[in-house]
């Protein structure tokens, strides 16, 4: 029996949403070439959605191990602050990026230590950094919004290469690299095994604790890079607002993308589509003239709908409505 692709539903949702937009506003899909750069709503969605996508990439692995990381929004704020302070001090871009990535890795390691080694519940463990992290970010920038004037840094989020925006390309590259690293090696299998049945994985000789810890470290690194992109995007480090609600969008993207919150099977591609779906939804709201503040409502309804579809009980009801074919035993 071939299992249906987990990407199918979010993809259908995305296509439906895009079609809806295209009908409402025929200019929605229009992409223009201006000064050798691509412009248009789809390009905007990709650019604006790239940070959520990146955070959701790390979140996918954490959720696949059966955990969750609530601290990513705070980590985004921290690394943005680190970048701003270092660039203000006229440090090199390479050092700045390395420091930001390092901050993300440290944050992820702290979460991994608490969850995998000390056995603290993931929600509880990552809540600590979620609370303290934003304070740390504000401490780093001393409560100021620091303007960043560095063309090379700016280029990361707002530049174009061969007419294409840099940030989405960068994120797409990371998705591809992660996908290959997980699926061309056995790492992906190990993560899915630990998320599916941790005891059985341990008994099969896998280093379950180490695998879980690594997922948090990777998630911290992704959030760190997303923090760089966020700061570059607005050319400033805003420790108060950077990464706000990003953990929610990332979790939503992962769940909508077909990775169950209970862990196990994950889909990196599904997450990418889930993140785009959420960004498109936000853009749609904007185009329909809905005030941005109300945009969370459809997101909330979407997530309740998706989690109900994944719930066992509903599955049984629907299973009764559409009997599925018996599999060969």
């Amino acid at each position: 029996m071939k299992t249906r692709s987990p990407v199918l539903w979010p993809l259908l949702g995305l296509v439906a949403l895009v079609l809806l937009n295209a009908v409402h506003d025929p200019g929605f899909l229009k992409i223009t070439l201006l000064d050798g750069h691509l412009y248009g709503v789809p390009v905007d969605i990709l650019t604006q959605g790239s940070r959520t996508m990146l955070v959701a990439l790390g979140m996918t692995l954490v959720i696949a191990t059966g955990g969750v990381d609530l601290s990513v929004g705070s980590v985004v704020a921290i690394t943005g602050a680190v970048c701003a302070v270092l660039l203000q001090g006229e440090h090199s871009l390479a050092l700045t990026l390395a420091a930001a990535l390092g901050a993300g890795l440290v944050a992820g390691s702290a979460n991994g230590l608490l969850v995998a080694r000390l056995g603290v519940q993931p929600i509880v463990a990552t809540l600590i950094l979620m609370v303290a992290g934003r304070g740390l970010a504000q401490l780093i920038v001393d409560g100021q919004v620091i303007i960043i004037k560095n063309p090379a840094f700016d280029y990361l989020a707002n530049g174009f290469v061969l007419g294409l925006p840099v940030a989405p390309l960068l994120v797409a590259g990371l998705f591809l690299a992660t996908h290959l690293a997980l699926r061309r090696t056995a790492l992906g299998l190990f993560i899915e095994a630990v998320g599916d049945n941790e005891t059985a994985s341990r008994f099969a000789g896998l280093a379950a604790a180490r695998i879980k810890a690594l997922a948090y470290v990777f998630c911290g690194a992704c959030a760190g890079l997303a923090g760089v992109l966020a700061a570059a995007n607005i050319r400033a480090a805003d420790a108060y607002r950077a990464g706000e609600n990003m953990e929610l969008d990332a979790i939503f993207a992962v769940v909508v993308g077909g990775t169950a919150l209970s862990g196990g099977r994950f889909s990196v591609l599904g997450t990418a589509i889930g993140a785009l779906l959420i960004q498109t939804l936000t853009t749609t709201m904007y185009n329909l003239g809905v005030p941005p503040a109300i945009a969370p409502v459809p997101k909330a309804l979407l997530i309740i709908g998706v989690s109900l579809l994944q719930a066992e009980k509903v599955g049984r009801w629907l299973g009764g409505l559409w009997p599925k074919k018996e599999t060969a035993a």
């Binding site: 509880v124 600590i128 303290a132 929610l248 979790i251 109300i294 909330a300 309804l301 719930a311």
Partner: protein, 320 residues
Amino acid sequence: MTKTASGVSRQLPLIVTAAIFALLFATAAHFYEGFFSARVFISLLSENAFLGIAAVGMTLVIFSGGIDLSVGAVIGFTSIFTATLIEKHQLAPGLAWALGLAAGSALGAGMGSLIHFFRLPPFLITLAGMFLARGAGFWISTDSVGINHALYGRISAYEWVFGAVAIPASALFLVAVILAGWVVAHHTRFGRTLLAVGGNEQSALLMGLPIGPAKIGVYTVNGFCAALAGIVATLYTGSGNPSMGLGLELDAIAIVVIGGTLLTGGRGHMLGTLLGVLIFGTIQAAILFDGRLSSWWMRIVVGALLLVFILLQRLFLRRK
């Protein structure tokens, strides 16, 4: 084993929390002139009244092993909802409050039902609830609405004068809610059932306890508390604002944990939450008194306290 010895060991987290509060307050009193006064002590309560009320509901939810991230958003929603009803629709404040409390409770009941009947993770469903409530609040109005009703002025100006001490209405509200929460948590079947469910749901089932009503009930009660906190916040600020209570759920959870309640459920005390509010207030007041320390130290210190308490709880449980 003597009775007192066992009582002491059972209340150990509460005692630790009380000692931390005493230590913090004494340290602040030592460093900052005028800190050691009834006025400051009362301000710890009055300045954090609506946060404290939300924390009372959160305590009950955490007792049951759940979590509710929607409380901040419900505060914002209730605040703008009641303000709009009073100012734009000329509703009597009492009626507006009743409607606000009903809306908060209904949202809680809905989330509790989803969590119980479909076995969905509380944090995800209450996240969705948070988005819903926040969105609904902004849908009513994106700007804050001032309330000019006479009753509001009277309540916010009210002080219960007790000798040389004047206690503002908001502090009285908080104390009343904590007392009510204490009665519910420690002197009703509902409260004990919550602790049993949080301690071991399987056992609670085999003991024949009403798990469904308890779980749905606790999110309903918490929705009610959040709405009440929203009303108190509106009284305190004299206006309704849809962005009120942003991120407040984190502070409420932190207060509950600092109060010695186990975040995984099954163990805790409502008086711990009172102490948690006092500790939170003391840190806040100390930072304010100092004048040199910036506000973000608040979050860092609260985060550090969270870390310490969670590690202590791990240690405490592992030794058993």
